[in-house]
């Protein structure tokens, strides 16, 4: 018995998992610093406080969305509806309500509700996450356009705009909000039973079920978190842009999946960390900014993004095989 046990491939223990995570984070950080250094050498306009602040403010909405996307990916899911949630929440709450706190309260509840529908379809109706969220994405799009008759109007309250564009002691409010949420979600994921169960479910749904975890509820909660994150991101994004638009957040579904994958989340489930995906979001937004700063054609952003998605996925695949 003992002989078989020692011969069997040893399962990586918690410490080696931590060490791998740490190395992946350092790799991402190193990559970010390299592209920043190269750009600084190429253009004096990149490493200025104003530009760095721009990058951070622009990265904030993607940061919220990618945290939610990662949590869904951890439970073997995928959320294609995030961009549609962003726009729908932003359009419905800002065109009907004038008070900033109420806009946020209603917006977050809307996001949670839509996330719960996604989660219900996936966990209880056994619809593939891809199709469930594809369908909600299209339905929400229809509801939103029908509601606004194609052209949303209304003005945004002053406080609301300040939340998205203003700063406290030189630090953008959006960034402070993201930092708070990121620390909270990191704590939930790494230090609570709920977080452990999410990862356990991603590793093996059967094992999670055996331990007595409410597996269906776990999946619903993951989608609810994603819905809430998308709602926050949508509100910050309209606040930043200043105009309510039916296509607010267009492309964020794919950008958030890209950032999650680059940040180390695996579609097979069970893997992902908040710092990893946030660094990845920062890398993506930095690259978009760099393309503009250096004066390259803006379409190059797409080519870079696509290449990075495949390269990152290939690197992680190699690492997990070794």
């Amino acid at each position: 018995m003992t002989a078989t046990a020692t011969n069997a491939p040893t399962k990586p223990n918690r410490n080696t998992v931590r060490a791998t995570q740490k190395r992946e984070l350092l790799l991402l950080l190193g990559f970010l610093l390299v592209i920043w250094a190269v750009t600084t050498a190429l253009s004096p306009r990149f490493l200025t406080p104003a530009n760095l602040k721009d990058i951070l403010i622009q990265a904030a909405p993607l940061g919220f969305v990618v945290i939610g996307q990662m949590i869904v990916i951890i439970v073997r899911g995928l959320d294609l509806s995030v961009a549609s949630i962003m726009a729908t929440v932003a359009v419905i709450s800002t065109t009907t309500i004038d008070s900033t706190p109420v806009i946020f309260a209603v917006g977050l509840m809307l996001g949670a509700g839509i996330g719960a529908i996604n989660g219900y379809l996936v966990a209880y109706r056994r619809v593939t996450p891809f199709l469930a969220t594809l369908a909600t994405m299209i339905v929400l799009q229809g509801i939103r356009f029908a509601y606004t008759k194609g052209a949303p109007g209304g003005t945004l309250p002053e406080t609301f705009r300040w939340l998205a564009t203003g700063d406290i002691l030189g630090i953008p409010v959006a960034l402070i909000a993201l930092t708070v949420v990121a620390f909270a979600m990191h704590w939930v994921l790494e230090r609570t039973i709920f977080g452990r169960r999410l990862k356990l479910y991603g590793d093996s749904p059967a094992a999670a079920y055996m331990t007595g975890a409410p597996t269906r509820l776990l999946v619903v909660m993951a989608f609810v978190i994603s819905g809430v994150m998308a709602a926050i991101a949508g509100l910050f994004l309209v606040g930043y842009v200043g105009i309510v638009d039916n296509w607010t957040g267009r492309g964020y579904e794919l950008d958030s999946i890209a950032a999650a994958v680059i940040g180390g989340a695996a579609l097979s489930g069970g893997k992902g960390s908040v710092p990893g995906v946030l660094l990845a979001a920062l890398i993506l937004v930095s690259l978009f900014n760099i393309v503009v700063i250096i004066g390259l054609s803006i379409e190059l952003q797409l080519v870079i993004k696509g290449t990075l998605i495949i390269l990152a996925a290939a690197v992680y695949m190699k690492r997990s095989q070794n």
């Binding site: 199709l131 299209i138 509801i143 029908a146 994958v261 696509g306 495949i310 996925a313 290939a314």
Partner: protein, 314 residues
Amino acid sequence: MSMLVRATRAQPVHLVVVALIAAVFVFGMTVSDRFATPLNLANVQDQMVALAIVALAQTVVILSGGIDLSFAGALSFLCVVFASLAGDTTGTLLLAMAVVAGAGILIGVINGGITAYVGIHPLITTLGTSTILAGVALLLTRQPTGSVPLFFEDFTYGRLGVLPYGMIFVIALYLLIGFMLWRTTFGTRIFAVGDNEAAAAVSGLPVKQTKIAIYALSGLLCAVAAMYMTGRFSVGDPRAGVGFDLRSITPVIVGGTLLAGGKGGVLGTALAVVLLALLANVLNFMNVSSFYQWIAEGVIIIAAVSFFAGKGKS
């Protein structure tokens, strides 16, 4: 009759879709006198040709347990390339066709190669290639560009009675791919890989090569769709493919092919393409704005998936 059922691999679920088509058709006739006219029905067919071709490609890929999201970028890129090369003579047209078909196959080989040999999930692989190709298409040109020979444009608008040439071509393609799926070794391998990849590998099937061939076929069909679309537009639009990645999936799912792979077929997809096109047409006659049509599309996906979810278990 029973031979026909066997040959087409007809299933009870197909009957449901046929019944829905009939219902939509009858309903359409009550909505407008112009609905059941040859002109309108030919128009409906014109509108489904491109979607029918990429949905056919998507069906084969999904049957093998994969997914191909590269159509958005690939169609845009191939349309631009085709229009830039097609010129105005038969010679240049044939050259453009060969180049675009080759490029489509190459895109597929890259998708399949990365998926099979590096082991990246096809969703991520094809999302990556699609993004790159969308970027390249726009780097080549921001405005619609190029042209096609006039006779080719005429051909894509041509009709045999109520049947557009494009539709006849699509029917032939579906028969061909259906034959390939049910009657050839390659087809059997596609189902084997989709049903249980590990089992297929253990029983000695060349899983990786099969995957590359599947995505190559998908890329080739995408190239064919690009030629047709360019002919219809008579220019190469660098945004021609926008939305086709997700739109190509709806008919496959509504037609009863399971996203998990291994179960389904081309007949379901064909019927679903017809159903969705007729429904959109009828809703247009009713002056239902596209906003509500989106809601309908989403609900149809959920309804279809919930319907088939129970079937997959048994």
